[in-house]
């Protein structure tokens, strides 16, 4: 499983990551993004590369 690190202090809740995620991993909760289905992440990093606030980092796959 990949670790999704979200910096909630930097996230402004613009929702770009939520729109672009192909697996619906991310949701918005009180104007901050939250990884609701972390286990479904395929590691495409679309959220990370499109985050204007440097708030998401996707870790490497722990199972290799």
């Amino acid at each position: 499983m990949r670790k999704i690190q979200i910096n909630t202090h930097w996230c402004k809740g613009c929702g770009i990551c939520v729109t672009l995620c192909p697996k619906g991993v991310l949701t918005l909760e009180q104007e901050t993004v939250k990884a609701e289905k972390e286990e479904a992440c395929i590691g495409c990093r679309q959220c990370e590369y499109h985050c204007p606030d440097f708030a998401i980092v996707i870790g490497e796959d722990e199972n290799g």
């Binding site: 690190q5 402004k12 809740g13 613009c14 929702g15 770009i16 590369y49 985050c51 204007p52 440097f54």
Partner: protein
């Protein structure tokens, strides 16, 4: 891990940024940081110069040597910096209002001289910081605070402008394709001579709201149908290319001499004449 890029290059005490939610400037800045990191360049030899505007605030968040200068004059300051120390790698971060309208002349003259600067224009089609007035790149028919019946001025194509002014590397990237943007910026940084990258981005809180384009995510998805690569654009007619944004590398040549090199040659000639 990518987290290291942020902790390494961002001024963490200034974070989070002052940009509105969904602003494309952050995506451009992220791509620049990744490009700089991949090139493994000496950090003390890189200087970021910016003017005034939302995009120019980017230098405040960087842990590099930076200059935040007058409106439109970023390229003028950068030219002076480069002439004083040609070993420096000078990167100009600017916006469409900053470099195309008030700094328009500095841009075309820097292109004419072909001085070794990397100019990265974060093009969000309006003046964001002052409240969303129309800029020289606002598309015809768009609503802004100063064009309430739709903008009727034909916009600048900054890539065509810089190409015809003499820039030796010209490319357009888009925030919808951040990895390709990183690659284009990387090539621009490696280029010897004036390199210009026009980064098509979004302003969801002003341009998006006034034109009813939806939230930041929907504005991002709009690019999917509008972007056409430069290779594909060659096969399409002018009618099909209407309302499309062509991205990719337009010019990459080294057939013109760089300005600092010519200047050094002239100094050598003058010294020779004085001694001879």
């Amino acid at each position: 891990m990518n987290d290291e890029i942020y902790t390494k290059y961002l001024a963490l005490d200034k974070m989070p940024t002052m940009w509105c939610p969904g602003c494309g400037n952050g995506i451009v800045l992220q791509s620049i940081l990744r490009a700089v990191d991949e090139l493994n360049a000496d950090r003390d030899k890189i200087v970021f110069v910016s003017g005034i505007g939302c995009s120019s605030r980017a230098v405040n968040y960087l842990d590099f040597d930076c200059m935040h200068t007058n409106h439109g004059r970023a390229i003028a300051f950068a030219t002076g910096l480069k002439m004083a120390d040609p070993d420096l790698h000078v990167i100009v971060l600017t916006g469409d209002g900053d470099c195309a309208s008030i700094g328009g002349n500095h841009l075309i003259h820097a292109c004419r001289r072909n001085i070794d600067l990397t100019v990265i224009c974060m093009n969000n089609s309006n003046y964001g910081m002052t409240g969303g007035q129309y800029s020289p790149t606002t598309p015809i028919g768009s609503m802004t605070k100063t064009s309430v019946y739709g903008s009727y001025e034909p916009p600048f194509d900054l890539c065509k402008l810089t190409e015809s002014a003499g820039a030796t590397y010209v490319a357009r990237a888009a925030t919808f394709y951040p990895l390709q943007m990183k690659e284009l910026i990387k090539k621009a940084l490696q280029h010897h001579g004036l390199s210009f990258v026009d980064c098509a981005s979004d302003c969801p809180s002003l341009f998006g709201r006034l034109n009813r384009l939806g939230d930041a995510g929907q504005m991002m998805l709009r690019w999917k149908d509008r972007l056409v690569s430069v290779q594909k654009a060659k096969t399409l007619s002018a009618e099909e290319l209407k309302d499309k944004v062509v991205w990719g590398e337009f010019v990459n040549t080294d057939d013109r001499k760089e300005y600092c090199d010519i200047y050094a040659e002239n100094i050598a000639k003058a010294k020779e004449a004085a001694n001879g």
